[in-house]
């Protein structure tokens, strides 16, 4: 396993190597093969739409990419592999990998405390002890999600006043998806794995949410100042049943149905 990845490192130069590269992944549930021999690359700055009919295993693929599921060997015993930033998944410490390749569940989970406490809780984890909670940044991102008509209101209040103080378990579906995104963005991820991220939002909020993500992608990460080229390095894989949204937010498509013709 390790030998073969060494060879591929030698073959491709550091610069042209994709950010995330998936090779020969297979997935079986009970006796059925959900997908077979899946391979694709995600370059820095890529916005990939992941499509497929219901039950084609889109969420399973995102889970596998986030390292939550064991990579199974295929029907003829071949081994699939995932490489990220020049290293195979086996060489990564999983907590480090998962804070760079972040998976957001469609129906996010929170602890029974305020939104802010949930956001802060992330920094108790050993992997994130060197970064600090930044309330201002959270508030400015929330501001971007406020509907424009209330932003012009002279009282200065908007829909997200007191959002951080609210009990996370009482958030509506759309609000929970917002909170989950804010929680993950704190980790400065390089790849977002988005599982129907706006499925519980109305049209208006969906547009604002998309704008927020587009802005995030163009931001230059704090730890990479004075980057010579300003092309976005951040990438995402987006699962959605809304083709309009995928057209807006993605430039490439990977379809699980097509890949799994058998």
């Amino acid at each position: 396993m390790l030998h073969s990845t060494d060879i591929s490192t030698g073959r491709t130069s550091q610069k042209s190597e994709p950010l995330l590269s998936v090779d020969n992944l297979c997935r079986q549930v009970s006796a059925n093969w959900i997908w077979n021999n899946i391979s694709f690359d995600l370059a820095a700055g890529d916005r990939l739409a992941l499509t497929g009919s219901s039950g084609s295993g889109k969420s399973l693929l995102l889970r596998t990419l986030s390292g939550l599921d064991v990579i199974a060997s295929g029907p003829s015993g071949e081994n699939g592999s995932i490489r990220f930033a020049g290293k195979s998944l086996h060489e990564w410490e999983m907590p480090q990998y998962r804070s760079k390749v972040c998976y957001i569940q469609q129906h996010p989970t929170f602890f029974d405390e305020t939104v802010e406490a949930n956001l802060k809780r992330v920094f108790r984890l050993k992997a994130h002890q060197n970064i600090k909670y930044d309330r201002e940044k959270i508030l400015s991102r929330l501001q971007q999600l406020a509907p424009p008509n209330t932003a012009s209101d002279s009282s200065g209040t908007n829909d997200y006043d007191g959002f951080l103080e609210r009990p996370a378990k009482e958030l509506s579906g759309g609000e929970a998806q917002i909170a989950a995104l804010l929680r993950v963005l704190q980790l400065e991820p390089q790849v977002l794995l988005l599982d129907e991220p706006t499925s519980s939002m109305d049209v208006e909020l969906t547009k604002l949410f998309e704008k927020l993500l587009e802005k995030w992608q163009r931001e230059i990460p704090e730890n990479q100042t004075n980057s010579p080229n300003s092309t976005p390095q951040r990438a995402w894989i987006w699962v959605s049943h809304n083709p309009e949204q995928l057209r807006r937010m993605c430039s490439k498509t990977f379809c699980l149905d097509r890949e799994n013709g058998n």
């Binding site: 907590p95 569940q105 993950v184």
Partner: protein, 266 residues
């Protein structure tokens, strides 16, 4: 001391069994349908106890460390199997984990008590080892059973929470810590509760037995105190060990939750 002790004859035992007639009578009058169960339970209880009496008399007389330890390990094995028997979910190494935990915890506290506190020579003297071991195993069994059940149940119920933490960069230990703590608390509640009301609500069996055998209450209480410490320590050690082992069985080094290893018992 032995002067106030009443030796029981077979006739007295039979006489005592008349009390079961009250239970059976109640069941008949109220149509509870418990006649068969009361009869079986009474017969089993009498049979098992008489048998264990003979067995212990025999082991006491042998006074051979290998036989004594053999019987002790057998008792621990039965306890380990029973502890797993009550759980609703299983994984492949669960029996081994239960056995290692119960034997480890019991051996540690027994050795500490017999050779450290009571300073019995030799430490495997059956007169002390078996009564203490019986109580230690009984309590550790309950602790292990509750801890396993709770831990496995909450892993499946709170799976999303665990995986949310994992996907935010938590180690498997960080992700499961809350559940481990919860399982250990649950498993130790009965021990803690009984310690809280010890002597007020309940007079423990061992102490009662010693008083019946003619030991002064003040003296019996001292034994009971030691006993409770031993029991509580064994229950805590056994539960902790079994939950940590279950944690190691259900997560891998890649910080992945392997819930497919849990089989529901049908």
């Amino acid at each position: 001391m032995e002067t106030n002790y009443i030796f029981l004859s077979g006739g007295q035992l039979l006489f005592a069994s008349l009390l079961m007639a009250v239970n059976i009578g109640l069941s008949l009058v109220l149509k509870l349908g418990l006649v068969k169960q009361w009869s079986i339970a009474s017969l089993r209880m009498v049979g098992q106890l008489l048998l264990v009496g003979f067995l212990l008399d025999w082991v006491f007389a042998l006074n051979n460390p290998f036989w004594i330890l053999g019987v002790a390990v057998f008792m621990a094995t039965v306890a380990a199997i029973t502890a797993v028997g009550r759980t609703g979910k299983r994984f492949s190494t669960i029996y081994l984990n239960s056995f290692v935990s119960i034997l480890g915890a019991a051996f540690f506290v027994m050795f500490f008590a017999l050779s450290g506190i009571l300073q019995i020579d030799p430490w495997y003297s059956p007169q002390y080892l078996f009564p203490l071991l019986g109580m230690v195993l009984g309590n550790t069994l309950n602790g292990i059973s509750l801890a396993l059940e709770r831990f496995m149940e909450s892993l499946s119920v709170r799976r999303k929470e665990v995986e949310m933490l994992l996907s935010l960069g938590a180690t498997s230990w960080e992700a499961a810590h809350e559940l481990i703590r919860d399982a250990l608390r649950t498993s130790l509640i009965p021990t803690l509760n009984s310690m809280m009301v010890m002597g007020i609500v309940s007079l423990p069996g061992m102490m009662t037995g010693q008083i019946l055998a003619g030991v002064s209450p003040g003296e019996a209480v001292r034994y009971q105190i030691i006993m409770i410490f031993i029991i509580a320590s064994a229950a805590a050690l056994g539960s902790t060990s079994v939950v940590v082992l279950a944690f190691r069985a259900l997560f891998n080094k890649r910080h992945q939750l392997l819930l497919e290893r849990l089989q529901t018992v049908t």
